[in-house]
C-alpha cells in the first residue's frame, strides 16, 4: 500500500512555473533550464508545432535533425528519443508522449516553398518560416540559424519507394509531449499556420506550452 501511494505521489501534477496559450498561427519562445520539462499540448488536435532548440550558452550549437536520426537509427521522434545537437550532444529527451512518431525530416512551411508547392497565389499567406525569423530576431539570430526542425503532432511517413508526404494528423485534443532539458536551451516554435495541406486539418488552432521545474516522468 505504501508502494502504491508513493507511485501516486510521483505522478502528482508537476509544479508548472510557466504556462502560456500560444494563439493559432503565432510564434513562441522561451528558455528551459537543464532538468526542467517542456510540455507542448495540442489543445484541439491535429495541429503541427514546428520547433527548434538552441544551446542557451552558445547559440551556434542547435538542434540537428540528421544527428538525432542517426543516433537513434530511426526517423521518427517518440518517447525515448534524445534530441541531439550539431555538436553531437544531447539537448533534450522525450520523456512522455501520448502520440509518438512525430516528424523531423520535412522542415517547416515558408512563403517561398508555398509558392513552389501550391502556386504563386499562396505566397502572401503567413508561414512558419516568418514566425521563426521574427522570433529569432529577438535573440539577434537570423536565417542562418534556421535548420531542419521538429514537427510535433505531424506525420510524414516514408514508404518503401521513398515517397514522402504529409498525411492526416492522428493527434486528438489534449495530446501532449514532454521534453526534459539536458542543457539550458532556448526553444523557438511556430504554431503552424499552413492551410494548404492536412498538417493542421485545414484549421490552425491554439496550443499550450508549460514548463515544470522538474522532470514530469521518471
Amino acid at each position: 500500500m505504501v508502494q502504491h501511494s508513493q507511485t501516486r505521489d510521483a505522478r502528482a501534477e508537476p509544479q508548472w512555473r510557466f504556462a502560456w496559450r500560444v494563439p493559432a498561427r503565432a510564434p513562441w519562445s522561451g528558455v528551459i533550464h537543464r532538468g526542467e520539462t517542456l510540455r507542448i499540448i495540442d489543445l484541439f488536435g491535429s495541429q503541427a508545432v514546428d520547433t527548434l532548440f538552441y544551446a542557451a550558452s552558445a547559440r551556434g550549437e542547435r538542434y540537428c535533425a540528421q544527428t538525432t536520426v542517426r543516433t537513434q537509427r530511426n526517423i521518427y521522434v517518440r518517447r525515448g528519443t534524445v534530441l541531439m545537437s550539431n555538436e553531437d550532444r544531447p539537448m533534450l529527451t522525450v520523456i512522455a508522449d501520448t502520440l509518438n512518431d512525430h516528424d523531423t525530416s520535412a522542415g517547416c512551411c515558408s512563403k517561398e516553398s508555398n509558392s513552389v508547392r501550391y502556386g504563386a497565389e499562396t505566397r502572401h499567406q503567413h508561414a512558419c518560416r516568418e514566425n521563426f525569423l521574427s522570433e529569432l530576431s529577438r535573440y539577434d539570430m537570423g536565417k542562418a540559424d534556421m535548420v531542419s526542425n521538429l514537427n510535433f503532432f505531424m506525420r510524414v511517413p516514408v514508404l518503401a519507394d521513398g515517397s514522402f508526404a504529409i498525411v492526416d494528423g492522428l493527434s486528438r485534443p489534449g495530446t501532449y509531449i514532454d521534453l526534459r532539458a539536458e542543457m539550458d536551451v532556448i526553444c523557438v516554435l511556430s504554431n503552424c499556420p499552413q492551410m494548404n495541406n492536412p498538417c493542421n486539418a485545414y484549421n490552425p488552432t491554439p496550443i499550450e506550452v508549460k514548463i515544470a521545474t522538474v522532470p514530469t516522468s521518471p
Binding site: 551556434g60 515558408s110 509558392s115 513552389v116 508547392r117 515517397s163 514522402f164 504529409i166
Partner: protein
C-alpha cells in the same frame, strides 16, 4: 554552346573539396571504386545565406529518393542545381554525413578521424562562413532504407563501383564535397576511397530553360529565379 574541355581531378579518400560552379556548369562525381558516400552541401554564391535545404528538396518533390531530373532546392523556393545524370540511384538526405562522434564510435577507440561535418565547417570557414551557415546535408552514393516503423538501415550491396552523378548548377554556387563514408556505412567498417571530380560546361540540352523541367513545382521554382 560547345562542350569545353572538362577538368578532371581526383578527390582523395578522406579529403574534401570546395568547387565554385557558374550557372550552367556541371560537376560530375565518378564513383570508380564504389565509395559509400560523398557528403555535399551547397551555398548560393550571390548570397550565402541562401543554401541547400534538404527538407524542402524532399517535401517539394514528394520523395526522399532523388535521381536523374531531381532538383536540389534552397530555402528560398529556388533550385540551386539539378541532378542532370545519375547512374547510382541511392542518395541520402535523412541521416546526413559523418561527424566527430560517428567517426569516433566507428574507430572503436574514440579516435578522431576525418568526417563530413569537420570538412564542411572548414570549407565554410574558407568562404568566411560559420557553423551556423551549415544545415542538413546530402550524401551521394549512400543507400539508406527506412522500415515501416521508421528504422533506418544501410544497404551496402546496393552501392557498386563505376557509377556517377552529375549536378548542373542553376545559380552560381559554392559546393563542398566531403569524401568520407556515410555514418551508417562507417559503422559497418567500410572505408573511404578516391573519387573523380569533373567540372565542365553544360551541353546545349541542359536545364537552363523553364520547359526543361518536367514537374509543375520545378517550373514554379524556376519562376522564382528572379525574385529577391
Amino acid at each position: 554552346m560547345t562542350d569545353q574541355a572538362a577538368k578532371a581531378t581526383m578527390l582523395k579518400a578522406a579529403d574534401y573539396r570546395l568547387v565554385n560552379l557558374a550557372r550552367g556548369e556541371r560537376l560530375t562525381i565518378r564513383n570508380t571504386h564504389g565509395a559509400h558516400g560523398v557528403g555535399g552541401f551547397i551555398w548560393r554564391a550571390a548570397n550565402t545565406s541562401e543554401r541547400l535545404n534538404v527538407a524542402d528538396t524532399m517535401k517539394i518533390q514528394g520523395s526522399t529518393a532523388i535521381g536523374r531530373g531531381s532538383a536540389l532546392f534552397s530555402d528560398m523556393g529556388r533550385m540551386l542545381a539539378v541532378m542532370a545524370e545519375d547512374s547510382c540511384g541511392h542518395h541520402d538526405m535523412l541521416v546526413g554525413g559523418s561527424t566527430r562522434a560517428s567517426a569516433a564510435a566507428a574507430s572503436g577507440r574514440g579516435n578522431w578521424r576525418p568526417n563530413a561535418r569537420d570538412h564542411m565547417r572548414s570549407a565554410a570557414a574558407k568562404l568566411g562562413l560559420k557553423r551556423a551557415d551549415l544545415g542538413s546535408c546530402i550524401v551521394f552514393f549512400a543507400a539508406v532504407s527506412v522500415g515501416d516503423d521508421g528504422t533506418i538501415r544501410y544497404e551496402a550491396n546496393r552501392i557498386r563501383p563505376g557509377t556517377h552523378v552529375c549536378l548542373e548548377a542553376l545559380e552560381n554556387v559554392h559546393v563542398v564535397l566531403s569524401n568520407t563514408v556515410h555514418p551508417l556505412a562507417e559503422a559497418q567498417g567500410l572505408e573511404p576511397c578516391e573519387v573523380e571530380l569533373i567540372v565542365s560546361s553544360a551541353p546545349a540540352s541542359a536545364y537552363q530553360e523553364r520547359d526543361a523541367f518536367p514537374t509543375v513545382e520545378q517550373r514554379r521554382a524556376f519562376d522564382n529565379k528572379e525574385m529577391a
